[in-house]
């Protein structure tokens, strides 16, 4: 069974329809890339998976988003628990104005995941290790997160997401503001993390989608045009529209 199963999903900002009849199966422990031109609905779609669109007034969703068989839009769904299970990393790193340690510890503390101070320390260390940041920050955990480089701040945000033990991580252009080296670190991290998490990444960088993802979904004007293994998508896509987009032939 798929980790996430989406069927006939429509989404509206007020009267404007942003997503049309999307059906998609996202498997566990894989990286799935969403690509498409600006305004194609890929980020909107990403946010329907953990109901981040709820924070935008006057939006409406139709259709089903099942995670482990449970409808995320069901009235009985605990949205806080949903967002713990489905973590998110944004385009611009957004650390809290706190210490490096507190940034990671915060989610653990408010969710009451830890038992003792030692347990909390252990969880913070593990999240920083998993985000490949520990070695760079272990000697300055008490200093401000703003003292970190852009790439380090983004990995801190990934550590913060990992700290609350999610199963799915949504990444909305996580490396678009980073230099090639920092981007490479994020990409290596994504590939490493998929052993334990299901990762969905929105990217404008075709090569990044090709490098890190197992499957790629191409969106255009709110519709899903093609969803295929990444290897097929970039060597022999089924749809002419996909080929035109990935080869920059769009007019």
């Amino acid at each position: 069974m798929s980790k996430i199963s989406i069927s006939n999903l429509d989404f509206y900002y007020g009267k404007a329809q942003a997503l049309y009849d999307i059906s998609l199966e996202l498997p566990e422990n894989e990286v799935i890339a969403f690509i498409g031109p600006s305004g194609c609905g890929k980020s909107t779609f990403l946010r329907t998976l953990n109901r981040m669109n709820d924070t935008i007034p006057n939006t409406r969703v139709k259709g089903k988003v099942l995670i482990d068989g449970k409808d995320v839009n069901d009235q009985s769904t605990d949205v806080v628990a949903l967002r713990r299970k489905v973590g998110m990393v944004f385009q611009k790193s957004n650390p809290f104005p706190k210490s490096i340690y507190d940034n990671v510890a915060y989610g653990i503390q408010i969710n009451g995941i830890h038992k003792t101070k030692a347990d909390l320390n252990e969880r913070v260390e593990k999240a920083l290790l998993d985000a490949a940041l520990w070695d760079e920050v272990k000697d300055r955990l008490a200093t401000s997160a703003f003292g970190l480089s852009g790439g380090q701040q983004q990995r801190l945000c990934i550590a913060r997401a990992l700290a609350v033990q999610p199963q799915i991580i949504l990444m909305d252009e996580p490396a678009s503001a980073l230099d090639p080296l920092a981007t490479q670190k994020i990409e290596e991290l994504v590939v490493e993390l998929k052993r334990r998490y299901t990762i969905i990444i929105v990217t404008h960088n075709m090569q990044q989608a090709a490098r890190v993802s197992d499957k790629t979904a191409f969106f255009m004007l709110g519709k899903l045009v093609e969803y295929n293994p990444t290897q097929k998508m970039f060597t022999n896509p089924d749809e002419k529209l996909t080929e035109d987009y990935i080869t920059g032939r769009f007019g």
Partner: protein, 220 residues
């Protein structure tokens, strides 16, 4: 975006491949003509022009790597660059075989003339025609024709077996012909190998067109 930077570069790459293909075709035809007409001058010309073909190969290699590195092609664009990069050394090897035939011609022309071998001419005609059609099919991205050309290689293989038998028979019957007959055996083998290389070109046209690798597959 109507005109992409990569389009212009892919056009140049295609043109250079066509030029190399033309030069290779010419080398095969001249080599066989030099053999059949005992024209040592023409044979020498084939050998002299081989250096130009080597240079053309290097230039296409350089350009393929540059497009891969700088344009990062995908889908059909990627398959075109990969196909060209794989076809180029095949063409260069075909030209090498033409050079080997020219070398054999120079040796044979020092010996008394043997009787003509119709199957050798048949092999040469077929090999040249297959090569020309394979290059046309590559440029036209015609997978169907390419598949037909692959099957046509059997005619060359059959002719090779007959030529081989005849030449061995000739050596047994008249050992004085050994030197020339041995060279003709080499020529026949070179033509047979050219047929195989043309098949490789056709397989790459199928890859370019259908993204399917048919090399080593049962249906091939």
């Amino acid at each position: 975006m109507d005109h992409r930077i990569i389009d212009q570069q892919l056009d140049v790459l295609r043109d250079k491949t066509l030029l190399l293909g033309g030069a290779t075709e010419r080398a095969v035809q001249r080599a066989m003509q030099s053999l059949l007409t005992r024209d040592s001058k023409l044979a020498q010309l084939v050998l002299d022009e081989d250096k130009t073909i080597d240079q053309m190969e290097l230039e296409i290699d350089r350009m393929s790597v540059e497009i891969l590195a700088l344009q990062q092609p995908a889908a059909h664009d990627l398959r075109l660059v990969i196909s060209v990069a794989k076809i180029t050394p095949v063409l260069e090897r075909i030209a090498d075989h033409a050079g080997n035939i020219a070398e054999a011609t120079l040796i044979i022309n020092e010996e008394p003339q043997l009787r003509p071998f119709s199957d050798l001419s048949l092999m040469a005609d077929n090999a040249a025609e297959m090569l020309r059609n394979a290059l046309d099919a590559f440029i036209a991205e015609d997978a169907e024709t390419s598949r037909r050309i692959i099957l046509a290689d059997k005619v060359i293989d059959d002719a090779y077996r007959r030529v081989f038998g005849e030449l061995i028979g000739m050596i047994i019957n008249d050992p004085t012909t050994t030197a020339s007959a041995a060279q003709l055996l080499f020529v026949a083998k070179h033509l047979e190998r050219i047929g195989d290389y043309v098949k490789d070109i056709c397989e790459l046209t199928v890859y370019l067109t259908e993204a399917a690798f048919i090399k080593h597959s049962a249906r091939n």
